[in-house]
Subunit: 164 residues, 2 copies
């Protein structure tokens, strides 16, 4: 019924920032070679644009960014490249309450959780070792072998609270 998303939702997401990307692009190149895949101009452009991103971005929004400079690159390729980056560990896929799939650059940090502002859409990360430990205790109590977890707080960020 429709080729690809026609744009909707997804308010805020971080923009670009200075960050040493070369190492990550090398990692992608190695992964591609090892998997018998091919390095392409498109993958390079998309990965570069993505790795400049701070925060969380949908494939759709990344496509829009890429498409500004490279009209010939299609949504499908951006979509597939993000899947590829996820597989090789350079991106993390996240789905929050609005049911859109977002990607964030995975920079070998610890696991972290999220505060999601339902006012402006801002997504903030946090880590809390104490909570992690308690989660482990809960799991043990249930004989549960935890593979991954997610924890999200929804509400209003400081700025939205102040401007209310």
């Amino acid at each position: 019924m429709q080729g690809r998303p026609k744009g909707r939702k997804s308010p805020l997401q971080g923009s670009s920032a200075s960050h040493s990307i070369s190492g990550e692009k090398e990692r992608l190149r190695l992964f591609i070679k090892k998997a018998g895949l091919k390095s392409t101009r498109q993958r390079d452009i998309i990965a570069t644009e993505f790795l400049k991103t701070i925060g969380h971005i949908t494939a759709e929004d990344l496509y829009k960014k890429v498409n500004r400079k490279h009209k010939e690159i299609g949504f499908t390729t951006v979509y597939r490249t993000m899947k590829l980056l996820s597989k090789c560990g350079l991106a993390s896929e996240r789905v929050f309450a609005d049911n859109l799939t977002r990607y964030e650059p995975a920079r070998g940090e610890e696991h972290h959780d999220h505060l999601i502002c339902i006012g402006c859409g801002e997504i903030t990360e946090f880590e809390n070792p104490k909570i992690e430990r308690l989660q482990g205790e809960v799991a043990k109590e249930f004989g549960f072998n935890t593979i991954s977890h997610k924890m999200e707080l929804y509400g209003y960020c400081r700025r939205c609270v102040e401007n209310a």
Copy 2:
């Protein structure tokens, strides 16, 4: 392209159980009246079937259960009735990693979180006041006004670990 879900996923969900339902049905009736809505045979049947449920069920699966005895009741009505039950506080909507919307009877308990078995699909609930408190601290630290939160642990339940 398609009328309604044609069945897929959603492995396990609790079946019926003895539980005093009359109070809840009364609550539904009051809500309906106060909102200027109408009590119908279908709503009664669907609500009754749902409130007998233990655990988490999709609209699709609830439809299948209802439809066994009442061929004339359609999916859309089940879907809309679940939305109604959610609005009046008798059901909680939940979306886990498989992106299906599930409903669980809301029996005025405390907030609780979930362990989701990626082996058999079992969903277990737990409460942990210490974690809740720490969440509050995190929020305070960020000046964040929390409205709701979700926390889910994904992994293998005791039974799946033992049978591995």
